[in-house]
């Protein structure tokens, strides 16, 4: 056996073992990660932009009957969703619904083209609509809405002839959904004329939190678009009642990226025109808002 004549072993021999294999393992892992990352980056850099096959639709649930998530079917449904499906059919594309938990984020995203189309009972008229028109483009209006006031059934709050104005709504605690026209109405017509800051406004990211808070008495008046208001009250099994309507004459439209770079608006508008003339629109109104 050659024992090397009793000389000290070369340094490589003592520095072998687990220390070396760890080093090798780290190099291999880094190499693999870099390689895979490079592949991913290469895909983005060298491939041409993908051909569109899907219409990505952004929404914000729950806002019945315009949009909500059905636990039984596992699908998004509602008046807006049905209309969006018709648009997707006209474009010959699959529809992919994305639920943004924050309405404000949805509006920012659609304005910059992060989703192809936003369908979420978005008001396009009035002062709020004017602001929104600066950051996104709208289709023709497809719905004309007012605001409504919901209270607990036990509440004594009333409005003359069921028409509420700032006179009745001021000096109360009010719940609204953030970034909506309901919040805009309160901030435009109630807050500025309330020098003592007696009106307490609770802002909620989603309607479900807003409903929970009203039910548990966190605030007094819930201000929300009239369509969902009617449907929330009708099915609350007597827990809520409608105190009145706030006449705002808001128009809803589908929003697309600012300047419509993808050219979706002509198709959307032609779909709206067609369904209004062939009766589909009326059928959908009956389906979602009742006869």
């Amino acid at each position: 056996m050659a024992q090397g004549g009793g000389a000290a072993p070369p340094p490589e021999a003592t520095r072998g073992g687990a220390g070396r294999s760890i080093g090798v393992a780290i190099v291999v892992v880094v190499a693999i990660v870099t390689f895979v990352a490079g592949l991913g980056l290469g895909y983005f850099v060298f491939n041409p932009p993908p051909v569109k096959a899907v219409l990505v639709v952004g929404t914000n649930v729950p806002f019945p009957p315009f949009e909500s998530y059905n636990d039984t079917t596992g699908k998004y449904e509602g008046f807006d969703i049905d209309l969006a499906q018709l648009v997707a059919n006209a474009l010959g594309e699959q529809m992919q619904v994305r639920n943004f938990q924050d309405f404000g984020v949805l509006l920012t995203t659609v304005g910059r083209g992060g989703v192809d189309m936003a369908v979420s009972a978005i008001t396009m008229s009035g002062p709020i609509g004017a602001t929104r028109n600066g950051s996104m483009s709208f289709s023709n209006p497809y719905y004309n809405a007012n605001q409504a006031v919901i209270v607990l059934s036990s509440s004594t709050f009333t409005c003359p002839n069921s028409i509420c104005t700032t006179t009745q709504v001021g000096n109360k605690t009010i719940g609204v959904q953030s970034a909506t026209t309901s919040e805009g109405w309160v901030d435009t017509y109630v807050t500025p004329f309330d020098p003592n800051n007696a009106t307490d406004i609770h802002r909620y990211a989603s309607v479900s939190n807003e409903i929970d808070a009203l039910r548990t008495g966190v605030y007094q008046l819930m201000i929300i678009d009239a369509g969902p208001a009617a449907s929330i009250v009708a099915s609350s099994a007597g827990a809520f009642k409608l105190a009145g309507t706030i006449i705002t004459n808001e128009l809803y439209g589908f929003a697309v990226a600012h300047g419509d770079p993808k050219g979706l608006l002509p198709t959307i508008n032609s779909v709206f025109a067609q369904i209004k003339s062939d009766g589909t629109y009326d059928q959908l109104i009956t389906k979602w808002f009742g006869p």
């Binding site: 073992g17 220390g19 990505v56 009957p65 920012t108 995203t109 479900s208 409903i211 548990t216 099994a237």
Partner: protein, 291 residues
């Protein structure tokens, strides 16, 4: 005839004796669960909430629980990998590695997970929609942003795990490392054969605690619209108000009780599993060594 029976009963007695503690614990747990169940069931019989509702919403909640488990399956391994890497790095001799790892830990540990999750979501949406190059190539920024939120949660958990790993490594007495050096082990071999086996076993209780808490933390992802157990629960509550059966405080109660139970079952299973591992792999004689 009598011989094997006696042997069997001896074996059974020995088995019972060996696992006496486990049986006692299982008994206590079972009784507690039964008492809670009976109270909740009694409230249902008394009409405090709707028993049929409790059964009806279960499929949707199970789907949500599946999503939650999926999130856990991503967050725990990614978090552990990050935690191990950065915790190991914090014990490094290089000031550069140490400072990078400390920055990571302090950054992700210093923010509430809900803020981190939102931050990751918004920043990806803004990045993709503002960079033209990405915007034309990524059709669905929502999916990217959601994935990044999950990773943010993993990074948050990773920062805690890094501290656990660091503490585990430091708990191994320096004398053992010196002894390993003295018998000619390399640094790598010392790490693999001496430090890591003890560190993993010492860290197991703390890691188990962190894993259990990660399961609950995944509920935070519902704020960006991930359809986990919490999101599905909130959605059911909001739909209760728009369904013909109507909603009331008691139906909200039953939804949240079921969510709580499902989270408890998941968390408890994991903590029992880790407790078993802890027993199985505890360092023999460690308690005596500390004295």
């Amino acid at each position: 005839m009598a011989e094997p029976t006696a042997a069997a009963s001896d074996r059974a007695r020995a088995f019972l004796k060996a696992h006496r503690k486990s049986f006692r614990n299982a008994g206590i747990g079972g009784i507690a669960a039964a008492v809670v169940f009976l109270i909740v069931y009694y409230l249902g019989l008394e009409g405090v909430y709707d028993l049929s509702l409790a059964a009806r919403i279960l499929p949707a909640l199970f789907q949500g629980a599946e999503t939650t488990l999926g999130l856990v399956a991503v967050v725990i391994p990614v978090g552990f990998a990050l935690g191990f890497l950065f915790g190991f790095g914090r014990t490094s001799h290089s000031w550069f590695v140490r400072s990078v790892c400390t920055t990571y830990v302090e950054f992700f540990r210093g923010m509430p997970p809900v803020v981190l999750v939102w931050f990751a979501f918004i920043i990806i949406i803004l990045l993709i929609t503002n960079v033209e190059f990405l915007n034309v190539r990524i059709q669905d920024p929502f999916a990217f942003a959601t994935f990044m939120s999950v990773l943010a949660l993993a990074a948050h958990s990773g920062s805690y795990q890094a501290e656990i790993v660091r503490a585990g490594i430091m708990s191994v007495p320096a004398g053992q490392r010196e002894a390993a050096e003295a018998i000619g082990m390399t640094r790598g071999a010392t790490m693999v054969r001496i430090t890591l086996p003890q560190m993993l076993r010492v860290s197991l209780p703390a890691l188990g605690n962190e894993f259990a808490s990660v399961i609950k933390d995944t509920s935070i992802l519902s704020v960006v619209g991930v359809m986990d157990l919490t999101f599905r629960g909130q959605n059911i509550v909001s739909r209760l108000f728009t369904s013909p059966t109507g909603g009331s405080l008691s139906s909200i109660f039953v939804v949240w009780v079921e969510i709580a139970v499902l989270y408890f079952v998941m968390t408890y299973s994991v903590s029992r599993l880790l407790q078993w591992l802890e027993q199985r792999y505890r360092v023999p004689g460690l308690e005596a060594a500390q004295l």
